[in-house]
Symmetry: C2
Subunit: 486 residues, 2 copies
């Protein structure tokens, strides 16, 4: 097999980079015809997993081979050994910096890494990360927007000051203190255009290219994309039942950033234990790392012991708390926030404003009113009951159909849970589910390192009460059939 051939030719002790070695190994395979013209190569993601290399390493090797004419890349289809190799390639080593010959230049390597990252599936019942937007009180919202326009001052049409509208920063500070025990002043709150934008700012304003960021594995592909765009080195860190579990060896090369979802790990649903939180804060202080706490659905907690935010127990001023209105109100709003440690908040907000300019003050006025007049808390309370009812229905039907065959976990919070499956079967379930118009995101697809745990992610947020039993039964039957045939 190709993977074995390549693995045999890589030497981690050699002075050449692994990307260069991989490039050489594939090139040698093409020149000695063990790789045939037209042959399809594995995706960079797949090869990285198989050979145990970083994704960027494979992308770099593929890009160079493509630049030099050994590979051709077809959009949506992958990379292939070139059908006809230019004569001179077979006679001599190619010029080291051969330029691309295409009609227009290509996208960057980081763009390619963004496009290659796995997609969260959508367009069917149980798609993950989809809140129910039909329940949003949009008539009320529209009245608040109209009122903000009526009360308009000319300054509202200009760029916003650093950090966003003071009134909204204050409303958010009050909310997160009460709801999530985040300790902050309004000056520590920075309004952003969605959580991805906030993470993007963290990646660039807190880290430089080539620096290391740790992520729980499995994790959210969208966040990995943000880190690729900033050329950070994404290092997957294993999870256990208490949350992210770095080994002593991991700390020998400490990261600049640690990205975690402690309230409801995405996708496993693990809640980080208090002991682990304390240990992580202590180690981060010792190694001088920033911790990014993404609390993407922490507002929807149904059961289990509630834990305060990690930010709330940090004495070292190194936690950045990320909250969003995408799940609690609606995704298209594009408003989220960061809570920065006091010593850097002002400079961070200023750099963010200078990098991207801010505005949308009318919408920010409306949101501030929505929060401070109590509508936000009321909507959260209402939706918490809706989601809890959907989760309970899904659990009842699932357990009735499958007993203990594909046990559920991770449902104390949020709008998804996990059904465990033997490793290797989750992809089969996903394929059959898709054919039935359902979504069963395989857990294996969300790992960056080698997948350890089999299962599927069941997003129930946007599946109506009247439909959930029917869809759950259909998916449970698919699971049963795959388990039987596997």
């Amino acid at each position: 097999m190709l993977e074995e051939l390549l693995a045999a030719r890589l030497d981690r002790g050699a002075p050449e980079t692994l990307a260069h070695q991989l490039y050489g190994a594939i090139r040698a395979g093409i020149l000695d015809a063990s790789l045939r013209p037209g042959q399809r190569l594995p995706s960079s993601r797949q090869l990285a997993l198989e050979v145990g290399l970083g994704r960027n390493t494979v992308i770099e090797a593929y890009a160079r081979l493509t630049d030099e004419g050994y590979l051709v890349s077809r959009v949506g289809a992958g990379s292939f050994v070139a059908a006809t190799l230019p004569e001179q390639l077979l006679q001599a080593a190619p010029a080291p910096r051969a330029r691309r010959r295409s009609a227009s230049p290509g996208l960057s390597r980081r763009a390619q890494a963004i496009l290659d990252e796995v997609a969260i599936e959508e367009g069917g019942a149980f798609a993950p990360c989809v809140p129910d937007v039909t329940a949003f009180p949009f008539a009320l919202w529209q009245r608040l927007i109209a009122r903000a326009w009526r009360q308009l001052r000319a300054g509202d049409l200009r760029y916003a000051g650093p950090g966003g509208l003071p009134k909204l920063r204050a409303a958010i500070a009050a909310h997160v203190q009460l709801a999530r025990q985040v300790r902050c002043t309004p000056e520590q709150v920075v309004i952003v255009n969605g959580a991805q934008h906030g993470l993007d700012l963290c990646a660039r304003l807190l880290a430089d290219g080539g620096e290391r960021v740790w992520m729980e594995d499995p994790g959210y592909p969208g966040v990995r994309r943000v880190f690729y765009a900033s050329e950070l080195q994404v290092q997957p860190i294993r999870l256990d039942s208490e949350g992210m579990a770095p080994r002593a060896a991991d700390w020998e090369t400490p990261p600049r950033l640690i990205y975690i979802t402690p309230s409801h790990q995405f996708p496993t649903g693990v809640v980080m234990s208090l002991r682990r939180r304390r240990a992580l804060l202590e180690a981060a202080a010792r190694h001088d790392c920033w911790i990014i706490e993404d609390d993407y659905d922490g507002e929807f907690r149904f059961s289990g012991r509630p834990l305060a935010s990690l930010q709330g127990i940090d004495a070292g001023q190194r936690v950045i708390y990320v909250g969003t209105f995408s799940k609690s109100l609606f995704p298209g709003l594009r408003l989220a926030y960061l809570v920065l440690p006091e010593p850097v908040a002002e400079r961070f907000a200023r750099a963010a404003a200078q990098l991207g300019f801010e505005g949308r003050q009318v919408t920010q006025h409306a949101l501030a009113d929505f929060i401070s007049e109590g509508h936000f808390a009321a909507h959260i309370r209402r939706m918490r009951l809706v989601y809890q009812q959907r989760r309970d229905l899904l659990q009842q039907v699932w357990e009735k159909e499958l007993g203990t065959l594909a046990p559920l976990s991770g449902g104390d919070t949020g709008m998804h849970l996990i059904a465990a499956l033997p490793a290797g079967l989750d992809e089969q379930v996903a394929v059959r589910a898709r054919a039935a118009g359902l979504v069963a995101q395989p857990l294996a697809s969300l790992y960056l390192g080698r997948a350890r745990q089999g299962g599927i992610v069941l997003g129930y947020g946007a599946v109506h009460e009247n439909d959930i039993a029917r869809h759950a039964r259909a998916l449970a039957r698919i699971v049963k059939a795959v388990l039987k045939s596997g």
Copy 2:
């Protein structure tokens, strides 16, 4: 002088990086006491200019010296030689990778470069880049927003598809074809959150860290910030009366991206000649570069021969056209657009959506209606007359007061022009203007390389007709006084 001392110690032929050499030179100066404890160092910007180094080089050297305790940095005040140097620093070379000791980790080097970049002045008459938002028909706009909310479909609350709302992409494609002779289909239009966001996407999806980007010099500091954030190497290219004028030697190390403002160069107002446009397109094709055409105020052309967009005469599919509604409608709207070459448009739009997620579809509906119902064209026509009247008034008063002492140029388009001054005097004018509540952005502040041309930028967009003569007279008198004393 420090600058001379340092320049003498730098050797561009040496194998060490210039940042490392600069670090060594400053460190040696501290250790041999030619730099005294507590002494303030020049800003990274100033030192880079004086010694002829890239800004990032100086930032890197300062950051390392600060990390290692030789310098201390005070927010807003700059960098100083540490008052007391730790004993061991005087005895031995510091450990090569000493960690920072601060209570929380610092911002990244790129954040520091963003913060160190010059600010465009604001808060007074003649501040550049400020459109008049008081003339915006916001009652009409509010009706369109309210209508979009009434016609809401649930999908409008979710993330938008790649590229933005199809209806808005189509309206923009029709507009730019007519108004700017941009050739495109709606599928080539990508909606972004302001021009800075669009440029940010270009920097990351079209180039990788360390690649070179050319910019006209002088140029817009906000764009430089975007490129620093993506760790591109910003290379200033000289301007002449026909626009960006790269030398043959510049083409020996061709860039990945070329950023230009051909319709109305910022800040000089030079319009790129057709001959220069053709030459640049031809050279870019030969060297396989992307060209980013920023048409930030091209809609407001009053006089001179109108030229089509560069995109419209590009046969090589390598121009990305950037348009914005910040100047033509209002900055706080945060909507702008890119027009991508057809071969990469789909993948670019997909990568952009995956990186940042998009939404705000209700606002996009309203803007599409505003354009397609003719309100946009009407507003442009109205504002063109307003701005032209303000420009004419400013010119009349200025020439009456100053004759040919500080000649105006660059006013055929847009909402600012340039008053030429002898080099070195523009900073003095700026200081006195500020004391009088006026803004006179010095041209020297906008150069990245060594400044060549003295002058001040006069933004007249937001200065009302009734005030312009009074403010222009006040500023002209300051100029006269400085010219007399200089």
